[in-house]
C-alpha cells in the first residue's frame, strides 16, 4: 500500500474545535486554513458550532464598545442595603 499522502489528511471535529478561534482571528497558516474550510463544507455540526463561536465573538467585541457603568443610583444602593438588613 502506498504511504498516506499529505492531501488525504483532514482534520477531525475535535481538531476543528481547537482551531476555530485561530481561524476566525486569521491566525492559521494557509494549509491549515484550507483544512478548516474543507471541514466546514462537509460537517454541519462544526458549521453550526462555528456560527455560534462567530456570534459569541461578535457579541464580545460589541461589549468593548459599551462605556463602563457608573456608580449605582442611590435608590439601588438603598434597596440593596435594605435587602441585606432583611436577610440578617
Amino acid at each position: 500500500m502506498t504511504a498516506p499522502r499529505e492531501h488525504v489528511e483532514e482534520i477531525s471535529c475535535q481538531e476543528f474545535v481547537e482551531l476555530v478561534t485561530d481561524y476566525f482571528e486569521g491566525a492559521l497558516g494557509p494549509r491549515t486554513q484550507n483544512r478548516v474550510e474543507e471541514h466546514l463544507v462537509m460537517c454541519h455540526y462544526c458549521e453550526t458550532y462555528a456560527e455560534q463561536i462567530r456570534a459569541t465573538m461578535r457579541a464580545l467585541r460589541a461589549l468593548d464598545d459599551e462605556p463602563p457603568a457608573g456608580e449605582p443610583s442611590p435608590a439601588i444602593l438603598a434597596a440593596l442595603r435594605r435587602r441585606r438588613e432583611d436577610s440578617r
Binding site: 500500500m1 502506498t2 504511504a3 498516506p4 499522502r5 492531501h7 488525504v8 483532514e10 486569521g26 494557509p30 486554513q33 484550507n34 474550510e37 474543507e38 466546514l40 463544507v41 462537509m42 460537517c43 454541519h44
Partner: protein, 204 residues
C-alpha cells in the same frame, strides 16, 4: 481561464461572506475581499467535491491563477453564468450515488473476509432505507468489516438527510479503507466526474 465557484444563496462567498457582483463584473482580491487573505478561490473539475455549496457558478479567472491542492487562486475573477443544473435535487442525486458507492466498498470488505451471503444482502438492498438498516445490522455481526459497514450506513443516512458533502466524504473514506490513498483519490475523481457529467461542465 474558466473555472467554477460554489457560493451560498445570493452569490455569497461561503467563507469570506463577500457578495459577488453581477455576472461580468470583475473582482480583484485587493479591492474588496476583506475576508480572503490570498485571492479569488475557484475550482477545477477535480476540486468540486471539496467545496459544495448552494450555488455553482462558472467563473473567469485572470490568467496567472496559481494552483493549490484543492483549488485555484487568482488575483481577479468575474462570474460568467450560474450552473442551473446544480440544484438541491441534483445534490440529492449525487449524495445517493455516493451512498451506493460506499455500499460497494462495504460489499468488498465483506467479500474479503468471506462473508458472501452478507455481501449479497448488501447488494440486494433496493432503497436507501434498506441499505442503511442492512448495513447497521451487519455491522454488529462482522467485526472485520464493521467500519466499512458503518460507513455504508452513514453514507445512506447522509443521502436520506440531504447531506451531500458529508456523503461524498464518507464514500471517499470508505474507499480509502479498502484500497488506501490511491482508492481515496480514485473515489474523489469519480465524484468530480459524476458532477461534471451531470452538470455538463467542461475542464478548466
Amino acid at each position: 481561464m474558466i473555472a467554477y465557484k460554489f457560493l451560498r444563496a445570493g452569490r455569497i462567498g461561503p467563507f469570506s461572506g463577500f457578495q459577488w457582483p453581477e455576472c461580468g463584473v470583475w473582482v480583484r482580491a485587493e479591492e474588496g475581499l476583506a475576508g480572503c487573505r490570498t485571492g479569488i478561490h475557484a475550482c477545477r473539475l477535480r476540486d468540486l467535491p471539496w467545496w459544495l455549496a448552494n450555488e455553482l457558478w462558472e467563473i473567469e479567472l485572470e490568467d496567472d491563477a496559481a494552483t493549490d491542492e484543492h483549488k485555484l487562486i487568482a488575483r481577479g475573477g468575474c462570474l460568467r453564468s450560474r450552473i442551473e443544473a446544480w440544484t438541491p435535487a441534483c445534490a440529492d442525486q449525487y449524495a445517493k450515488a455516493c451512498a451506493w458507492r460506499a455500499r460497494d466498498h462495504a460489499i468488498e470488505a465483506l467479500r474479503r473476509h468471506g462473508h458472501e451471503k452478507q455481501a449479497a444482502r448488501m447488494a440486494g438492498a433496493g432503497t436507501l432505507i434498506e441499505l442503511r438498516d442492512a448495513a447497521g445490522e451487519l455491522a454488529e455481526l462482522n467485526p472485520e468489516a464493521r467500519i466499512s459497514l458503518l460507513m455504508s450506513q452513514d453514507g445512506a443516512a447522509c443521502a436520506l438527510t440531504h447531506a451531500a458533502p458529508m456523503g461524498a466524504y464518507v464514500a471517499a473514506h470508505a474507499a480509502k479503507r479498502i484500497g488506501g490513498p490511491v482508492a481515496y483519490d480514485a473515489e474523489r475523481r469519480w465524484q468530480s466526474e459524476w458532477l461534471a457529467r451531470h452538470l455538463g461542465l467542461r475542464p478548466s
